[in-house]
């Protein structure tokens, strides 16, 4: 077994893990991040939802139930985490639009409005009302995008279909990265003589250069252009993940990719190492502190059995809303399913409650009482708690 020594090891490569990692690596600590694979951020819309309970997310946060982990992060730090994120993403070439005091609307693939706070610049021109007429461009064979859903809610909508020669989200997106393809597409688009106020696309306008591509199309056609987030595979989610990953690496963080944690080594009140399943042999990664950012059920941080809910890395105590019957309500659309509150309860320094271990810090979707769907607080909560956990971790190892 080989042994490597770090200041901090982060488990999980989602928005929370990569943000906490960049925070610490940027302050000169030796940081490694281990992950079993791609995070759920890749499946997301790429939008930074902070809190949808009020038009001003910062006020919305104040109205959250007392147990909500947002209350563990001072407002100043929440703002800081959002500012840092915007600066970092600008730096990485995927600028975000928006401000912490104001929610924005993003048009969904069903024609509804999704409330978010910071959105990729490719969604900036999305209508903020039901009046603007839009023209949707869809792509032949694209399985997961049907303009008719949007038309059912917005009567003043028209659509055209372009045959990109491929039909997958990724395939179309990579075509848009090619100059010639983009050029012939723009020629076609101009020929459509679009009368509507705005032009909408499913989010397939490029892999990494979407911001530039959207700008180019808008300039050439002379109309605002925006992307509509699609169901996975989601390009904006993937762009967000890639940018965060590159940013963390730029800050000299190490990433151990596809190395799931299969064990831990402890001594007294300290976790000394996580044992990961690397190619061919177990690999022990030592550190002075550990940040758990493995996400909830989808991310793989938590697993439910018929009898209990288990935290998969450190076997931390999990807050369970009640017996299995209470995990879900009968009404699918209730937004009140008990399971949304399952997770790890932490103290004010983001240390897990109910364990003697002193060098674990927890952030992101694995935290208890988040109710992410109900509160509209996904990636925003990840950014804020990642800052708070990294800050506590830094104070601890100093």
């Amino acid at each position: 077994m080989s042994v490597t020594e770090y200041d901090v090891i982060i488990i999980g490569a989602g928005v929370a893990g990569l943000t906490a990692g960049a925070f610490l690596a940027g302050r000169g600590f030796k940081v490694a991040l281990v992950t079993s694979g791609e995070p759920t951020a890749c499946l997301s819309t790429g939008c930074i939802d902070v809190c949808s309970r009020d038009h001003n997310p910062l006020i919305g946060i104040k109205e959250l139930p007392l147990a909500h982990p947002f209350h563990l992060v001072p407002e100043k730090m929440i703002r800081e985490s959002l500012d840092n994120f915007q600066t970092a993403m600008m730096d990485m070439g995927i600028p975000y639009t928006g401000a912490p005091e104001e929610n924005r609307l993003v048009l969904s693939a069903l024609g509804t409005f999704k409330t978010s706070c910071l959105v990729p610049s490719t969604m900036e021109a999305a209508p903020q009302n039901t009046k603007d007429s839009i023209h949707i461009i869809s792509f032949a064979g694209l399985k997961d995008f049907y303009p008719s859903y949007i038309i059912s809610r917005r009567k003043n909508t028209k659509f055209s279909i372009y045959d990109a020669g491929v039909s997958s989200t990724m395939g179309i997106a990579s075509h848009f990265e090619e100059k010639e393809f983009l050029e012939s597409f723009i020629v076609w688009l101009k020929g459509q003589n679009i009368d509507e106020d705005k032009i909408a696309f499913p989010a397939v306008l490029g892999l990494e250069s979407a911001a530039e591509i959207v700008k180019t199309i808008a300039n050439r056609v002379g109309k605002p252009v925006f992307e509509i987030p699609t169901i996975p595979p989601s390009m904006p989610g993937r762009r967000l993940f890639n940018a965060l990953k590159d940013y963390f690496r730029k800050k000299s963080g190490d990433i151990y990719w596809a190395w799931p944690v299969v064990g831990i080594e402890k001594a007294g009140r300290l976790i000394e190492a996580v044992v990961t399943q690397s190619e061919g042999r177990p690999n022990s990664l030592n550190a002075r502190a550990f940040i758990l950012a493995t996400g909830s059920f989808v991310g793989g941080g938590l697993t439910a059995t018929r009898e209990a809910i288990i935290e998969n890395v450190f076997n931390l105590p999990v807050h369970v809303p009640g017996p299995r019957d209470t995990w879900f309500e009968n009404d699918y659309f209730s937004f009140n399913h008990g399971i949304g509150r399952a997770g790890i309860i932490v103290d004010s320094s983001l240390r897990p409650a109910g364990t003697p271990m002193e060098n674990i810090f927890v952030c992101g979707g694995i935290l208890a009482d988040t109710e992410i769907l109900k509160n509209g607080c996904g990636h925003g909560l990840a950014l804020a708690t990642a800052h708070a956990a990294a800050q506590s971790c830094m104070e601890y190892i100093r």
Binding site: T112, G141, R324
Partner: protein
């Protein structure tokens, strides 16, 4: 106004079987079903074509009927029956006396048995509990109830039978005390149709008393709810029964790529208001797990329940109530046919149509036991090789259903209901339970202008709500994980609002 000699209410196996029998005997008929075919107990059962073994000890008459019909269906419906064979396994502690009664019963009824050692049984079904004492081989089979209904209906359609699905009977029209017709409402458009006939057959299973009451009649029944779970894998290639008196969770049946296990048996009042309890799911899993230990850690993709329309009985435990059937002559032109089993549906239909023929004073004999079911050749028309060739066009990744196939069903049936596509293609029947593909199927229907954009939204909402009813009771492990993803997609990424 539509006219037919016989009006059949109910599109379960019994109703569809009656339609086929009438068609083969040349009697004009019309079948009305409020949902899709097999929507009641027919579609909510194990899909087990009983050898009769399950009933030899408690109900030898039903056992004999089952075995006779088992032989007939294997002959006439080979494409919807999988001749899996079945085992009755005896676990340590299970009564040896029951084993003796079972073997004697099978011999008396004429069901062939073969007593095999546990080693031999494990050769046949490697996932079996290695601790079983022995196993008895019987000719149980797996049957696809939905295909069975469709194939029976096919004969009726080929011979000018009139079929209305998604039409709910709201009134029985009477004249001088006799039933002379029905009024039914199209569930999609609200349009009311009136159909006149000489005889009305009430083959509505658990809903029989409700329909009978529309004609001022009564059908004494005991409604017994049975719950089942579906696994993500095919854990056995044979039907596995527990060698003991009928009880909860004692049958596991392989079907296509999955297994069904159940059942429970609980008395209910209203067939439209049945839920499942976590305790039932746990019982089924632990009981099935005694026979197939791997059951305890297998992914369950859904739980569901159906209501057995049993004859009224004083017996408290409905596992003991006779599975026999009865034809009730309401002496006003209406007959109700209740009880019975999926396995004996053809026999029930034969007896019902014999009665009708007698009342019409016609003589033509039943041929349903001799003539193979029409349209079976088409069932093998969508093999895996074809599905893989359409891979780029796959709409449902779990069950490999292509866009072409969805379009073909829409064109063929003119359906406006995504459930109809599911039944005919298995779209949405895999692990994600339609989480991804229903959004697509409705989008395709919309593109084909079969439904309006507004309808597609409404249907998507309805679908998610119905789907959740089934999976809500199987949410732990990977199924919970995938369900959370589906929830993020619809309620998060797609920002679906609460229905009004």
């Amino acid at each position: 106004m539509i006219k037919a000699d016989v009006i059949i209410i109910g599109g379960g196996a019994t109703g569809c079987g009656i339609a086929r029998d009438l068609a083969l005997r040349g009697i004009p008929h019309c079948l009305i079903e409020k949902g899709d075919f097999a929507a009641g107990a027919t579609g909510a059962c194990h899909g087990l074509l009983h050898s009769g073994g399950r009933y030899v000890v408690t109900d030898p008459i039903a056992a004999k009927e089952c075995y006779d019909e088992n032989l007939i269906l294997r002959r006439i419906g080979e494409k919807c029956v999988e001749q899996t064979g079945g085992l009755f396994v005896r676990l340590p502690g299970d009564s040896k006396r029951f084993r003796e009664l079972f073997l004697r019963g099978c011999e008396e009824v004429g069901i062939p048995t073969d007593v095999i050692s546990s080693t031999k049984a494990l050769d046949l079904v490697p996932n079996l509990n290695p601790e079983i004492e022995e196993a008895i081989k019987v000719p149980d089979c797996s049957i696809d109830p939905f295909r069975l209904c469709m194939l029976n209906i096919r004969t009726s359609q080929l011979r000018d039978g009139i079929i209305f699905t998604r039409h709910k009977v709201t009134e029985i029209v009477k004249s001088h005390g006799r039933c002379i017709g029905i009024k039914a409402t199209d569930q999609a458009t609200g349009e009311v149709r009136e159909i006149r006939g000489n005889i009305i057959v009430n083959a509505t299973g658990a809903w029989a008393n409700m329909i009978a009451s529309l004609a001022g009649c009564e059908v004494p029944m005991t409604l017994s709810k049975g719950s089942l779970v579906i696994t993500n894998h095919r854990l056995t290639n044979m039907v596995i029964n527990r060698l003991r008196p009928p009880s909860d969770g004692d049958i596991v049946v392989p079907n296509e790529a999955v297994c069904l296990a159940g059942t429970t048996s609980l008395a209910v009042e209203n067939p439209d208001k049945i839920g499942i309890e976590s305790a039932e799911v746990d019982t089924i899993i632990s009981e099935a797990g005694r026979m197939i230990p791997h059951f305890n850690n297998t992914r369950i993709i859904r739980a569901f329940s159906g209501v057995r329309p049993l004859l009224k009985s004083k017996k408290m435990d409905s596992h003991e109530i006779s599975r026999g059937f009865q034809i009730i002559d309401h002496t006003n032109g209406m007959y109700s046919i209740v009880g019975g089993k999926l396995t004996t549906f053809r026999l029930m239909a034969e007896k019902m149509v014999d009665t009708i023929m007698a009342s019409f004073k016609l003589k033509k004999a039943c041929e349903t036991a001799e003539i193979p079911l029409d349209g079976q050749e088409e069932l093998s028309g969508y093999p895996l090789s074809k599905r893989l060739a359409d891979m780029n066009d796959i709409v449902c990744e779990c069950e490999l259903v292509s866009k072409k196939e969805v379009q073909r069903i829409i064109n063929q049936t003119g359906t406006r209901n995504v459930g109809d596509i599911t039944h005919r293609t298995r779209l949405g029947m895999g692990p994600c339970q339609g989480g991804f593909c229903t959004f697509r199927a409705l989008g395709i229907m919309n593109d084909m202008s079969v439904i309006s954009p507004e309808q597609s939204m409404e249907m998507l909402r309805g679908f998610l709500q119905r789907r959740f009813r089934g999976i809500r009771y199987a949410l732990w492990g990977d199924q919970l994980r995938e369900e959370q993803l589906v929830e993020y997609i619809y309620l998060g990424i797609l920002a679906m609002e609460k229905p009004q």
